[in-house]
Amino acid sequence: GAGVSQSPRYKVAKRGQDVALRCDPISGHVSLFWYQQALGQGPEFLTYFQNEAQLDKSGLPSDRFFAERPEGSVSTLKIQRTQQEDSAVYLCASSLEGGGEQYFGPGTRLTVT
């Protein structure tokens, strides 16, 4: 079956631009996670959704980062006024339920110039 998909796969933004990154989780998966992975590092947790409810956003690095999942399926991570330090791979993962195995998408590589 289809796995987690993310789009775009690559995004180049000029500093100060807003970007929106999309995640399509596996159908029927209740839980959705966003992670940020800097070059050469492991992924770092950003935020967690259970259906449409954002239950944990403790990992979002600043108020420029905003995530939503309005209908409990597709999620969008938005970054306003991008900065160079936002350059990273943004990974989305979904699981059938919160404590279950997480299935990751291929990520979106964001480069801020």
Binding site: Q41, G42, G98, G99, G100, F104, P106
Partner: protein, 112 residues
């Protein structure tokens, strides 16, 4: 969540068995040990999970001593396609959700 320590990198050759050891001295009673694999330009992929003793699946084995302060991921007869970064994670599997905490991982290079 318990912190983990694992080697930054390892080298091996095709056909050899590779053992990657992870230290987690502060592991809690409810914590499970999970290993993920990540190829370039892909998201991490679950390999194996265990609580104590030994777990084996079609991909790998996980050895956990009685004190659970370390664990060893064993990959039998590696091939070039096993070249990847391997992450050891510990955390509570139960409850509401798993906020996975990754370290820097171990970069395994398999040579012909």
């Amino acid at each position: 969540l318990a912190k983990t320590t694992q080697p930054i990198s390892m080298d091996s050759y095709e056909g050899q068995e590779v053992n990657i050891t992870c230290s987690h001295n502060n592991i809690a009673t409810n914590d499970y040990i999970t290993w993920y694999q990540q190829f370039p330009s892909q998201g991490p992929r679950f390999i194996i999970q265990g609580y104590k003793t030994k777990v084996t699946n079609e991909v790998a084995s996980l050895f956990i001593p009685a004190d659970r302060k370390s664990s060893t991921l064993s990959l039998p007869r590696v091939s070039l396609s096993d070249t990847a970064v391997y992450y050891c994670l510990v955390g509570d599997r139960g409850g509401g959700y798993n906020k996975l905490i990754f370290g820097a991982g171990t970069r395994l290079a398999v040579h012909p």
